[in-house]
Structure formats: structure tokens, C-alpha cells
């Protein structure tokens, strides 16, 4: 018998036979002996009675011998669990009497007993009737078990939550329980196995109740930080595997931004894992942990990739629904490079021969996971083309699973990447292969995938080939084509022909062929013939041809009902156009023949058609009347009514010999103007996004082509694509226009984000900036950074951060005296570990005041921190640049959050960086401003006057009575301003006054001149220091002078 044979290879197990429960084994063996279902039922029934009795008597005995009764209880409950399973969950109601005893067993201190109780409950919790009865008892016990010092008991409680909290119950709403679970994540003393379990149990709670975090922003921030801290130990891949799904959930549904800063770290791990897994020399312990079945660890890889998939959006997806995600173009080159290398390594790997089943499976898992992801990052297209080439070779794989995944992957890439991918798949060789595959594939679900793929691939060039093959498929196929697939193909063909056909005759031919092979039942098919009729009506040049073709189809014996319906409508409208070839009387006969072969709905249509035919040929009067009279007694009320009404109309017009009424009633149908093709709704989800955006739109389909058709609708040339209903074509023009605008915005955003790196968010609002809580003495380092080129930014017993500002130097120019970008500065940060323990998980997040809507400054070229770990007394570095696009308020300078853990403490430092519109002056070396440009006093005065004449008070800012503490006198102030880089007028005539000038550089607004007068207020000598007055004039009418004075205030107050 097969069930005694092992599934796999020879192994000697480690299961302990001593832990067997004899009574249970006997019961199971007994049940298996009775082959008749009746016997089994009897056996179960008698066992249930026995168990019930035992439960009752043990209740009376008051635990005389608790050890024995615990064992008995465990055994009986195990039997109940078995009955539940073996009855395919059908006997739930028969075992509910045991719930009370399960709760008692749950309280046991013996592991195997507690385990049995939890295990049984985990199964039964799918049923609400069980949950209602015992939920509160269980929560109580869970809280007790969480407090236990026995890790095994805690693990059982965690398992329980990890398994059932996703079901319908109130566990996730219980704060006490949630706190207990989270405490294990938080506590530095929790063991690794418990932490792993906890992060997944917590995930389960969070999935059920996301408000756990979202209801309390402070908690959200703090808890997410703690969870991210679990990720710090990069060497611990086992913990990572458990934490990644939790982070993925948080990134998807709660807070993307806080996770984006992990991107460089995630990519590094992915890269290490793949490099270790693919290298031929595997020795180190680390590489061993990255391996599985001789290949890179697929779980680690797929989990990292699915998180990256959330955090990174492709540049095409401008309207991503994940706020806070990174655009692919914002990822640093080093990170991107690692990702690309990873993909090509994995592609290489799949060419490796292997006979191990598991290994092969794992290889492909990794391949598809990475290929699907990589198309997002590809800016040049070469990677996409490579991926597609690899995938196309896998299409002929003998493994059906691989073919399935390959097709799936191709559909995804073509949907995301559009033309560049589609063109590559469509090279003749591949297209032939795909079509061949469709005809030979034996798995219907694969055929469906191929149909989806062909649908995505279709464009104006290959429409004929693809549609001809699709339409042939149902007749040719080797498998029983189910009706659903047939219908699916029909709808797709109909949409494709309308969208891409350039030959109107061919369009009609295919559409009618499609109708002719449709089965007669499905309601969806209504849409197809209706749509065809709309198009024919709107394209006058089709009227005659359509009539002729339809008559041909209708003359065959097995006309499909859809054809009859289309015929009933079209011939009724336009039969007069072909009266030279076909007598109206013949058409009447044709319809009266079909009449008895079709459904009532179609019959009703034919009744109308007959009336319309009568209009063209009044001589048919008597046969038409006879025909209607036949149906006067129809059981179908619709047919009866129509016949009666139409009969009256015919009789009336005959009596008066007046066709006016008929002409009036049956005036030609006006063009249709339904806005969209209703069939699009039936398409389901080919690709991932909504049908309209997922549609591959051939680039060649220009609006001029379309308008040409609109302007010459009467053209008789057959080489035109069909004109869809009028207003739809209008809407499709606007659509292309939108598309155009849409592309515009996307390139704009791209250029805004050009090459800036990891942590510039796509956030629309400034909420994330405004919500930051800065550390208490942030102003000191902020002011220091405004006035010094280098210095300390932050100091704590653990970590010291130092900054250095420098003019931006691009690699192309070394000419420091004349920099290309005087409005751009580079900030280097040095992080120094001052403690005795290593600092882990160090990362920074830069939050600019805004990133969209024409930001004043942008952060670019952010390099990754050289290492996320700093050993004691060691340092790491990071740098980034800021481009000042226009003057800005120093109070909106970027905020930097630094996060790290050290010796078990999790730390977060939020600082405002001292960057202002004056920073470029500070960083520029003195020579650039040039001694020669220093003004004399008379120059200064004349310019000052000039500014006042031209601009009056506009562009001026005055600040009186600025009290500077200490002994600041005019000389010290002068020194500070000189150091900052202002040009100071060399004069001694006017005492206690400083005249300054400088040029402010911005990228978008150009340069501004700036004059400042500072004088020490002699009279108002304050006890706390000296008082100064500042007046600043600039050539800008905006707020620039105010920004400068504000900044000076910070600087001078230092």
C-alpha cells in the first residue's frame, strides 16, 4: 500500500516513540480497521460517549491524582482532535462538549498537555461558535503564559497568536495581549527563537488590527523603530527571515517612509547572499548561512525582494499608491549597480545543470523573483531585454511549472515596461514559439496565460497574426476548451481588433467570424455583437459590406445566434443598400427561417427587422401581416405585444397608403456615442494595473492618424481602421492628449529627482517634515553649522557627529576659483563611536522641507554610509549635496534623523542642519569672491542709494536692537562676518558701523546682489550685552533680505 511507503529518501527520524499516547493509537488503529463508513461512525459515536463519561467523572473526582487525570485529559482531547480532522471538520458540533476540558488542559503546567490543548484550539478557532464560547478564558491563560519564565510556554502562547489572530476573534483588540507580545520584541533579553516567533505573531495581530500602530503616531514611530532595530544585526539572516514579512507589511500599509532608509542595507544583504550563493568556493560560515540546497537562500531573497518591491517604484508609475516610496531613479548608483549584478548573477545561475529537484525549484524561485523586480529599475532597457531573452529560452522548458512562471513573468514585464519589452518578445522567433505553445499546451491555465500574454503583446503590426491565431484556437486546441476561456478569447479579440486594426475590411471579417463561432449562451457575448453594430453604424463605408458578409454567414445552416442578432439589426437598417443583389423578399425568408431556431429575445429583434424590411418593400405587406398574426397568440408577452403593435402599424400604413408614419418611426439610427468600449470591463486583470493604463498603446498610433479619419469619414478606401462611435473617438483623442501631458509631468518629476539618492521621499506634503521633534538643544549645532565650515554637529556618550561643508566639485572641473555650480555645496558627515560597544544599524534619513512643487533646495548625490556598524573608537562617513534653487528660509533647512543602536539601547537623533542661502558663501574660498571686488565706501553708498531709488523699501529688511550677549563689540562681529565670507568695506570714517556686500547664488533664480549695514547702538547699552541694528538690502524683491537677516541673527547669537 502506498501509505506505508516513504515520500522521500531514506532517513532515520528523531521522533520519540516514548512520547506516543497509547489509547489514542489504539483508537486510530481501530477506526482504520473498520472499512465501512457506518462502522466508523458507530466507533466514533461510542468513543465520544466514553470520553464524555470520563470528563464527567473526572470532574467529580476532584483531581485525586492530577498526573493521571492530566494524561487522561490529554489523551481524550487528542482523540477529539483526531475525530475533527478525520471527519474533514464535519463533526465539529459533536466534539464541542470538550471545550471546557480543553481550557482545563490549557492551564496544565506539563508541556505536552498544554501543547495538546493549544494545538486543538488552533484548529477549532476557524469556527466562530468555538471562539464565542471560550475566547475570554483563553486570553486569560495567554496572559499567564506570557508571564511564564519557561520559554517553551511563552512560545506556545506566541504560536497560538501567530496562528489564530488572523481569524475572526478579538485577540488583536486586546491591548494587554498586544503589549505582552510587543514586549518580547522590545526586550533586549529575549532569546533569538522567541524574537523570531514574536515578530511573526505581532505581524498577525497587526494584519488584523492595523490601528494598533496607526491610532497612536508616537507609538507608531517608536514601535516601528524597535522593529527596524531587529534588522540591525545584518549577520543574523535567520532573524531577518522572520522580520522581513513584518517590515513588508508595515511598508505596504502603515509607513513606507520609515522603511525606505533600509534600502541600501537590504540591497547589500541581497547582494551578499547572491554572491555567496553563486560563488564556487563556499567556506565561510557566513556564506553557508546564505545558502540553501547549494544555491542562494531563496527565502531571504524573495522576502527582501518583496520588501524592495514596495519601497521602490518604477519611474513609470508616477501615480504610485504608496506615498513615501522611492523612485527607481533616486537610488544611488552603487545600490543600483549591486542590484543589477545580482540579477545577472542569478540569470547565470539558471544555466547551471542540476538534477536535484529542490535545487532546480529554488533556482527558478530566485530567478523569477529577481527578474520580475528588476524591470522596475531598468532605465536603459538593456536589462529588460536580457531578462526577456532569458525568459524566452525558458518557454520551452519541459517543466510545466517553469513555463507557467515564465509566462507570468513575461506578462508582468511587458505590462510594466511597455514597448521596449513588447518589441523584444515580439521578434518573429518568439512570437511563433508562443503561438505554437498555445496550440500544444495541455494545461488550460497556461493557455489562459498565453492568451493574456498575446493580448498584451498585440500592436498594429502583429494584430493580424495574433488575432487569426487566437480565433482559430478554440477549434484547434488539444484540450477541452472551457467556455470561460472561449469567452475570454472572444472578448479579447474583439477589443484588440477595434483598437489596432488598420484594415477595415479585415476588421469586419474578423468580427463576424468571431460572432459566428461564439456559443449561444453567455451573456457577455451580447456586448460583442452590440459593439460591432455600433461601429458599423458609425462607419458608413462599412454598411454595405457588413450586409453582404452577414447574409453569407446567415445562409449557412449553423448560424450562431450572435450573427443572427447582428444581422437582424444591420440588415434591418441597411438592407436597401444591397437591394440590387439581394431581393428584400429573400431577406424576409431568411429571417423567417431563422425565427424558429432562435431564442425569444432574438425573435423579438427579428419582429422589428421584419417591420423595417417592410418599409423597404411595401409589396411584402400580406406575408408580413401573416407573419405577425402567427405570433399574436404567443405565450411570450414581449413577442405578442410587438406583433400586435407592428401589425397595427403595417395595417395603418397600408390602409392610408401612407408611408410617412413608417418613415418617421424607423428613421435611420444616429451615430452612437457610448464613451468607452464596454468590453474593457470584462477583461479582468491582465497585468496588474487597471485595464486602460495597462493597455499597451502603440506609439505609432498618433492623433493625426485619428483626426485624418474623422475629417474624412466618407472616404471609401478600405485601408482605414474602423472609426469607433463618434464621441468615443473624441474621448480617445483627449486621452492621447492626456497621455502626452502625463508623460510631460513624469519627465518633469524625473528631472526634479535626478540622481538624488536614497532618502528623498515622494511625499506630497510637508507632514513628515513638520512632525519631527528635534532634540532639545538643536539650535546650538544648527547655528554652528550656519557659521562654520566644519565642527561638531552632535555629541553624546555613544556617538559623535561632525560636519564639513565644501563647495561642490564635480569631477569634470577642478577649477576651484571658478566653480560650475556656485549654488551647490557638499556636506560630509563623520560618525564617531565614542563608546566601548559597537554601534549597530546606523542609518540616516534626510527630510527636506519639500520635494515637490518647485522646492527651494534639493538634496542630491547622497552616498550610503560607509558601514552600518561602527566599532568602538572607529568612524564612518557619509556625504550628500544640496543645490540651492532659490532663496529659502533657514528655518526650513533639511532635517536629519540619525538612528542607531548601541549596547541594547535604541537611539534616534533628530537635528536641523544649518544650511541657508548663505552657505555657499561660507564654503567658497575667499579668493573666489575676490579681494578686488571689495567695494570702497563711496561705491557702497552709491549702490545703496541706487537700490533705494530703484526698489524703495522692497527687498529691504531691518532689524533693530539685536542684543548680542557677552562682550561682542563691533570688531568681533566684523571678524565673524569676515570669516563667513562677506566682503567688508575697509573704512574708518564712520565708527561702530560695518558695511558688507556679497553676491547670493541660486540655481533657478540667478544671482542677487546684497548690501548690509550693521551698526552698534551706542546709546542703548544693555546690561546683558551690546545692541546692534542691521539693515539688509538685496536686488531681490522677495524675502531674500529677511532670510539673510534671520540667518545673521542665528550666526551672531552664537
Amino acid at each position: 500500500m502506498e501509505n506505508t511507503k516513504s515520500f522521500l529518501s531514506n532517513n532515520s527520524g528523531v521522533a520519540n516513540s516514548a512520547s506516543l499516547i497509547k489509547g489514542l493509537q489504539l483508537f486510530i488503529a481501530d477506526l482504520r480497521l473498520s472499512t465501512q463508513i457506518d462502522d466508523q461512525e458507530k466507533r466514533i459515536h461510542s468513543e465520544l460517549i466514553k470520553i464524555k463519561q470520563q470528563f464527567e467523572s473526572s470532574g467529580k473526582q476532584k483531581d485525586r491524582n492530577s498526573k493521571v487525570s492530566g494524561y487522561q485529559r490529554k489523551k481524550n482531547i487528542a482523540k477529539l482532535a483526531y475525530i475533527y480532522i478525520t471527519s474533514n471538520t464535519n463533526k465539529l458540533d459533536d466534539i464541542l462538549f470538550g471545550l471546557k476540558e480543553i481550557i482545563i488542559l490549557l492551564k496544565s503546567k506539563v508541556y505536552s498537555e498544554k501543547f495538546m490543548a493549544y494545538m486543538t484550539l488552533e484548529m477549532l478557532f476557524q469556527h466562530e461558535s468555538v471562539v464565542e464560547k471560550i475566547e475570554s478564558d483563553i486570553i486569560q491563560q495567554l496572559l499567564i503564559d506570557f508571564e511564564s519564565t519557561n520559554d517553551d510556554h511563552v512560545a506556545l502562547a506566541l504560536n497560538f497568536i501567530g496562528i489564530v489572530a488572523g481569524l475572526k476573534n478579538n485577540l488583536a483588540l486586546n491591548n494587554e495581549l498586544v503589549d505582552e507580545v510587543f514586549n518580547i520584541i522590545r526586550s533586549p533579553t529575549s532569546s533569538l527563537p522567541l524574537k523570531k516567533r514574536t515578530s511573526l505573531s505581532f505581524l498577525n495581530l497587526l494584519k488584523t488590527n492595523p490601528t494598533l500602530l496607526t491610532n497612536n503616531l508616537q507609538r507608531q514611530d517608536l514601535w516601528i523603530q524597535r522593529i527596524i532595530a531587529l534588522f540591525d544585526d545584518q549577520k543574523n539572516y535567520r532573524l531577518m527571515v522572520s522580520v522581513l514579512p513584518l517590515l513588508t507589511y508595515i511598508a505596504s500599509y502603515i509607513d513606507t517612509t520609515s522603511c525606505t532608509r533600509l534600502v541600501p542595507q537590504l540591497v547589500q544583504t541581497l547582494y551578499d547572499c547572491i554572491m555567496a550563493g553563486t560563488s564556487s568556493t563556499v567556506n565561510s560560515q557566513l556564506s553557508k548561512e546564505y545558502m540553501f540546497a547549494n544555491v542562494p537562500n531563496p527565502w531571504l531573497i524573495t522576502k527582501i525582494v518583496s520588501l524592495l518591491n514596495i519601497l521602490i517604484v518604477s519611474d513609470n508609475e508616477v501615480n504610485s499608491d504608496v506615498p513615501g516610496a522611492l523612485y527607481a531613479s533616486n537610488i544611488g548608483d552603487d545600490v543600483l549597480g549591486k542590484l543589477r549584478t545580482s540579477v545577472s548573477k542569478v540569470i547565470e545561475l539558471t544555466t547551471r545543470e542540476t538534477h536535484d529537484q529542490m535545487e532546480k525549484m529554488v533556482q527558478n524561485t530566485i530567478l523569477f523573483s529577481l527578474i520580475n523586480f528588476s524591470s522596475k529599475l531598468d532605465t536603459t532597457g538593456t536589462a529588460t531585454i536580457n531578462s526577456i531573452r532569458t525568459l524566452c529560452t525558458l518557454l520551452v522548458s519541459p517543466e510545466v511549472n517553469i513555463r507557467f512562471l515564465t509566462l507570468d513573468s513575461l506578462i508582468k514585464i511587458c505590462t510594466i515596461r511597455g514597448k521596449i519589452a513588447i518589441d523584444e518578445v515580439c521578434v518573429a522567433k518568439n512570437l511563433t514559439l508562443i503561438i505554437k505553445l498555445m496550440n500544444y499546451e495541455k494545461d488550460a491555465s497556461l493557455v489562459r496565460k498565453i492568451v493574456d500574454l498575446l493580448y498584451v503583446l498585440t500592436n498594429t503590426e502583429n494584430i493580424k497574426i495574433i488575432v487569426n491565431q487566437l480565433i482559430k484556437y478554440p477549434m484547434k486546441s488539444k484540450i477541452n476548451t472551457d467556455t470561460k476561456l472561449k469567452r475570454d478569447i472572444a472578448i479579447k479579440v474583439s477589443v484588440l481588433t477595434e483598437r489596432y486594426a488598420t484594415d477595415i475590411n479585415w476588421f469586419l471579417e474578423i468580427s463576424l467570424k468571431l460572432l459566428s463561432i461564439l456559443s449561444n449562451s453567455a451573456s457577455q457575448e451580447e456586448l460583442i455583437w452590440e459593439r460591432l453594430c455600433q461601429i458599423i453604424v458609425n462607419n458608413p463605408q462599412l454598411h454595405k459590406l457588413a450586409c453582404e458578409e452577414i447574409i453569407e454567414y446567415m445562409s449557412t445552416n449553423n448560424t450562431s445566434e450572435s450573427i443572427v442578432k447582428a444581422g437582424a439589426f444591420i440588415l434591418g437598417e441597411y438592407a436597401n443598400l444591397i437591394s440590387d443583389k439581394y431581393a428584400i423578399g429573400d431577406l424576409f425568408n431568411l429571417f423567417s427561417d431563422k425565427y424558429f431556431l432562435v431564442s425569444n429575445e432574438t425573435r423579438a429583434m427579428i419582429l422589428t427587422t421584419i417591420l423595417k424590411l417592410y418599409r423597404f418593400a411595401p409589396e411584402l405587406g400580406s406575408v408580413v401581416i401573416k407573419f405577425y398574426q402567427l405570433e399574436l397568440n404567443s405565450l411570450d408577452i414581449e413577442l405578442q405585444t410587438r406583433s400586435y403593435e407592428y401589425l397595427k402599424i403595417v395595417q395603418l400604413s397600408k390602409m392610408n397608403n401612407d408611408s410617412n408614419l413608417l418613415e418617421f418611426l424607423l428613421a435611420p439610427i444616429p451615430p452612437f456615442n457610448s464613451k468607452t468600449n464596454p468590453l474593457l470591463k470584462r477583461l479582468g486583470n491582465v497585468g496588474n494595473s487597471t485595464p486602460t493604463s495597462a493597455m499597451p498603446r502603440p506609439l505609432s498610433r498618433s492623433t493625426s492618424n485619428l483626426s485624418h479619419q474623422i475629417s474624412s469619414p466618407t472616404s471609401t478606401t478600405s485601408n482605414f481602421k474602423p472609426i469607433p462611435p463618434a464621441s468615443r473617438s473624441r474621448s480617445s483623442t483627449t486621452f492621447s492628449k492626456n497621455q502626452f501631458e502625463f508623460d510631460n509631468t513624469s519627465t518633469m518629476t524625473d528631472s526634479l529627482h535626478t540622481k538624488s539618492t536614497n532618502v528623498v521621499n515622494v511625499n506630497n506634503n510637508n507632514a513628515s517634515y513638520m512632525n519631527q521633534v528635534l532634540i532639545s538643544d538643536w539650535q546650538t549645532s544648527f547655528s554652528r553649522m550656519l557659521s562654520f565650515k566644519q565642527g561638531n554637529l552632535y555629541t553624546s556618550p555613544f556617538l559623535k557627529i561632525m560636519f564639513r561643508l565644501a563647495p561642490f566639485s564635480s569631477t569634470t572641473t577642478t577649477n576651484l576659483t571658478n566653480p560650475d555650480n556656485p549654488y551647490k555645496i557638499t556636506i560630509s558627515l563623520i560618525f564617531l563611536n565614542q563608546s566601548e560597544w559597537p554601534i549597530n544599524g546606523l542609518n540616516t534619513e534626510l527630510i527636506p522641507y519639500k520635494t515637490q512643487g518647485n522646492p527651494e533646495y534639493i538634496i542630491t548625490d547622497t552616498s550610503a554610509i560607509t558601514s552600518n556598524t561602527i566599532l568602538p573608537q572607529k568612524r564612518v562617513e557619509q556625504s550628500f549635496s544640496i543645490t540651492i534653487r532659490r532663496p529659502f528660509d533657514a528655518n526650513t533647512a533639511p532635517i536629519m534623523i540619525t538612528r542607531y543602536t548601541c549596547g541594547g539601547s535604541v537611539n534616534k537623533v533628530t537635528l536641523k542642519l544649518g544650511i541657508s542661502t548663505l552657505s555657499p558663501i561660507l564654503t567658497a574660498s575667499k579668493q573666489i569672491n575676490g579681494r578686488s571686488s571689495i567695494l570702497t565706501l563711496s561705491d557702497f553708498v552709491s549702490r545703496w542709494r541706487q537700490l533705494r531709488e530703484n526698489m524703495d523699501k522692497e527687498g529691504e529688511c531691518q532689524l533693530n536692537h539685536l542684543i548680542l550677549k557677552g562682550t561682542k563689540n563691533i570688531e568681533t562681529v566684523k571678524n565673524v562676518l569676515n570669516r563667513i565670507g562677506f566682503d567688508i568695506v575697509d573704512q574708518t570714517n564712520i565708527p561702530s558701523t560695518i558695511f558688507l556686500s556679497t553676491i547670493i547664488h541660486t540655481k533657478s533664480d540667478g544671482n542677487y546682489g546684497c548690501l548690509i549695514k550693521i551698526n552698534k547702538n551706542q546709546l542703548a547699552n544693555d546690561a546683558n550685552g551690546n545692541s546692534f541694528d542691521i539693515i539688509c538690502k538685496t536686488t531681490s524683491t522677495g524675502l531674500l533680505s529677511k532670510y539673510i537677516v534671520d540667518t545673521l541673527q542665528y550666526i551672531l547669537s552664537l
Binding site: V14, S19, N297, K442
Partner: protein, 147 residues
């Protein structure tokens, strides 16, 4: 996201293991649900058809594999990637095999609670929580030895 349920039944459709991580649709009866899966899978051609059922329901895909007389089935989210779950199933079976030593259906019948123990050491909240066979076996034999 993640595994919605794990099922194991034999060729006759008799359930051996069942674990739900997500609630079934309203009013969906567990027994009817399981038997519809059984009907679907048992009618499939194992040589020429894949191990994936793409749209079992609106929200669920199936990934399954047959080992001798037993089907192992996972219900997963429609957005998840199928391939890794096939590896999940295989890993689970490998661990069962190592734990019981030449595991066969009878082992799972008579020691169903140990099979559950194995499952729970591997899958929590619909996610795989441990992938090292050595670690798992050590842990399982420790738990199995507890009183």
C-alpha cells in the same frame, strides 16, 4: 500576503492536516471548501499540468504538490509569488521526513499532533519562520522529549 491555509489530504480526499491562518469567506463551510479543493486537484493531470491554481477564489491561489498518496496544499494571496511556496511545501515535507524518518501517511495519521508541532515550528502567521533543517530537527526532538 502570506499563506492563508495549509491542507494535507490523501488520494481519497481524507483530511490529514488542516490549518487556517485566515478566516474563510462569510458563510463558507470548511468542509465544503476542503472538498472543492480536493475535487479540483484530484482531477488534474499531474504530468502536464502545473502545481498552481491561479484563481481558486477571488483572493486565493493554490500551490500544491503530491507526495506518494498525499497532497500538500497551500492557499496563498493572489499577489504572492507561487514558486517560493512550492519550496515551502517541499521543505515542510523534508522536515517531516527527517523527523519521523521515512515519513509515510500512517506516521501523520497516528502522530498527527507531532505533524502539527512540526508545522507550527515552521509556519507562524502564514509565514515561514525557520528554514534551517538542523535547527528545526533539534528543536523538534527537544519538544518531543518534554513531558
Amino acid at each position: 500576503m502570506g499563506i492563508q491555509f495549509i491542507l494535507c489530504f490523501n488520494k481519497q480526499g481524507v483530511v490529514r492536516l488542516v490549518r487556517w491562518y485566515e478566516q474563510l469567506e462569510k458563510n463558507e463551510d470548511t468542509q465544503a471548501y476542503i472538498s472543492s479543493i480536493y475535487k479540483l486537484l484530484s482531477s488534474r493531470d499531474h504530468k502536464n499540468q502545473s502545481n498552481f491554481i491561479e484563481s481558486f477564489t477571488e483572493k486565493t491561489k493554490l500551490v500544491y504538490k503530491r507526495y506518494a498518496g498525499l497532497y500538500f496544499v497551500m492557499g496563498i494571496d493572489t499577489k504572492d509569488e507561487e514558486a517560493i511556496h512550492l519550496s515551502n511545501i517541499h521543505l515542510f515535507v523534508e522536515v517531516l521526513d527527517a523527523f519521523f524518518g521515512n515519513v509515510c501517511e500512517l506516521d501523520i495519521v497516528f502522530n498527527f499532533y507531532k505533524a502539527y508541532m512540526t508545522m507550527d515550528e515552521m509556519f507562524i502567521g502564514g509565514e515561514l519562520q525557520e528554514i534551517s533543517k538542523e535547527v528545526l530537527l533539534e528543536r523538534l526532538s527537544y519538544l518531543d522529549g518534554l513531558e
